[in-house]
Amino acid sequence: MKLELRGITKSFGPLVANDHIDLVIEPGEIHALLGENGAGKSTLMNVLFGLYDADSGEILLDDEPRTFSGPRDALGAGIGMVHQHFMLVPVFTVAENVMLGHESTKPGGVGMLDLDAARQRVRELADRFGFELDPDAVVEDLPVGVQQRVEIVKALARDAQVLILDEPTAVLTPQETDELIGIMRQLKEAGTSIVFITHKLREVRAVADRITVIRRGAVVGSASPEASETDLASMMVGRAVSLSLGKAPAVPGETTVQVRGLTVLDANGSAVVDDVSFELARGEILTLAGVQGNGQTELCEALLGLERPAAGSILLEGNELVGLSPKQVLDAGVGFVPEDRSVDGLVGDFSVAENLVLDLVHTKEFSRAGALDLAAIRKNADHRIQEYDIRTQSATQAAGRLSGGNQQKVVLARELSRPLKLFIASQPTRGVDVGSIEFLHRRIVAERDGGTPVLIVSTELDEVVELADRIAVMYRGRLVGIVPSDTPRDVLGLMMAGVPHDEATAQAAEHPTEAGHE
């Protein structure tokens, strides 16, 4: 089926998310939609899927103009979508999720569900593409990679002829990504067209037949998979970007952070952080690499005192942090940038000024005898807004209204605005525009150069490699190894799948993985 978008425009208030976008997806091709976070890719696909109404423009299927007033129309027309945030009901089984919305019912006309038919359909599709899927497993118990397959099966079960994959690799290991690429190729063989939305250059080059690049809501051009990464990157961000930060080598000082045998259990008693040990010196950056959900979040929470470890110790300049409350840990000189800033980093309804003192408001600087010192809070805000180039109308604007990059600057400004003995930042640039990424990275390196031990947690391999003085790889709660920052990407990729460093080096030499090419 040929899919064509003509002149799609969609604005949210003053923000134009899609500006006259034209796009043609030929039958049986894998068409990559490349763009930065916030470039408007997801908006475009939500328009196509009928979740958003476009302000103008038209959608054509096999040259017939169609209007989709909701997902039902899009599904009916043979368009399926695997959303970035899975659209699965966690408490339902795989079969129930797959059948939802187009349920097969038993004869009799009263709408009794025919679960057996649904189970059969799931098995059939899973078999055809060669993976296992238990139709009766409850979705919330499944690992993310499997949940994604449920999403794909869900779309295929409706005979989708065009499959939209929205950032499908964000939560996958490089090896799982390879498998997904395999599935995509099989689908293509079977005649399904695929729209592959991503901001990862390497994957695009590995799998796409054609590439369309979107920047700030508009199509800026198309490219072939043969184009170099640097070319694609500069198209994506609009200027020639140097992909490396060019930071000075680290000058590590005395080792002040010692984590020993840290173990965190989840509610079921399984170890989500399993006997993790590492050391960190003043003036160095240790990055923690790993696919999302391998215990990094819990490790950070344990370091901050949000989660009480079952075993292990965290020494900061000789003082034990285990057992302290988050407030005590912060007061001990730990700065923390959480991975999800809009949830954990900012109070969206609060003003920028208030957010800049969120964890400092009880200090002498900003309050006296339980009363806020509004003048000091205001002065601090003016100072930080200038220092960190935070683009806001005023210090009183609600922080939730700022762009992602500026929100992150607020969090970073707050956490770096006091003398630190340890700085932890999780996903410091997720969902941030390229200009801000550079700024944020430079601030982090500056903090290192000022002599603070820095721990960065990132699932973006690019960021890991860019910032690291040393790299620790985490897999299923354990540290697979701590390696130098010049370790090849495919070795890192294998380590992220749990392969020890030596083995990974050997394997990488034998079988270069597709996503791991440099």
Binding site: L51, P71, L100, E103, L113, G477
Partner: protein, 429 residues
Amino acid sequence: MTAVDTRAPAAPPARTEPLTRRSWRAPIAFGVLGLAALVLFGLLGKSGEDTTFVISTDNDWVQIGPVSVPSQATAIVLGVLMLLLAAYAAWRAWNRQRPGVWVAALFGVLWVLSFLVWAVAGKSMSLVGLLQGSLILAVPLAFGAMGGLLNERSGVVNIAIEGQLLTGAFGAAVVASVTHSVYAGLIAAPVAGLVIGSLLALFTVKYRVNQIIVGVVLNVFAVGLTSFLFSSVLKPNAATLNSPPRMPVIDIPVLSGIPIIGPVLFRQTLLVYLLYVAVFVVTVALFRTRWGLRVRAVGEHPLAADTVGIDVQATRWRNVLLGSMVAGLGGAFFTIGSVGAFSQEMTAGKGYIALAAMILGRWTPVGALAAALLFGFSDKLQQVLGVLQTPVPNQFMLMLPYLVTIVAVAGLVGRVRGPAAAGEPYVKE
């Protein structure tokens, strides 16, 4: 690949063996309660008294004479049995197992029995009357709870059950009075409930006002409206507008003659039989049909439902209206189902107990019915004991449903987990 199969396994990753903690909550609770019963009802109970339970009615096929037991000795025996159950639960806990529902249920029955033996010492009480009355009092609670869960399963919190019961009671009384027909009243009750339901849907679904706020305010509105109409219209015209006939008791042939069960379950009004049907139909509809699957999807993850083409807002509208009709039907109990005439604020907080029954029943119709029966039982017991002049102040009996609910939501008797999206308006571009 030699060392590692990079095909990620479909099964969950083999993590370290879960170290389930031993949960001592249940054995400790059983132990304390059992010991309290043993001491209070047994050892400190009145010695030398007998407790008499009447278990037959005149219409049963088989007549069983009243059963008399020595109060103190029986309570002691029951107390010891309870402690044995506690010991069993402790043994299960040591082996990292849960004690099982039947243990809790049996424990509850024993505890209540020992309490009854103690409270009725030296007197006589009709067991059939107690159970029959419990079921009757459970009717509005069960209907209300089902109305509530139909709402909440689709993601709309229904605090307004109280208001729906009240308008249902009002509508049933007025229409039954005017038409001289209880059946017309029975149809009017759900329609009256619909008044509150459509306001609830309008404000929560369409205008996305906070659901708890709307619920609380609608209860005030229902009290105001029915009281106003009562004082200004019903009172001056009581003979024509507020003298409804009452629902007759219908004996189900054969079944109603079974001892104990017959009179309790099958010698009731049509409303009770409707309740049986409603529990069955809602259970099947919610868990076995396409409609139910979609409703639950909307209540758990509305966006996911939307992406497969389910109209979230329409589903919620339908369910809120349907739920209000079920709750409204339950309201008919207060007037044509029992006393007849409507009076101001006659639901007296039963809607909130229905809300509690819904939670305690974990958002399932059968569970809600069980919880409603429990609350109905404690209410009836309070009435019976009040007449018998027993040592427990009846205010404490009246408190019981509310206390049980607090204990339940505090997770002391297991976690309750409601529909994930309940309370959240669905906002779509």
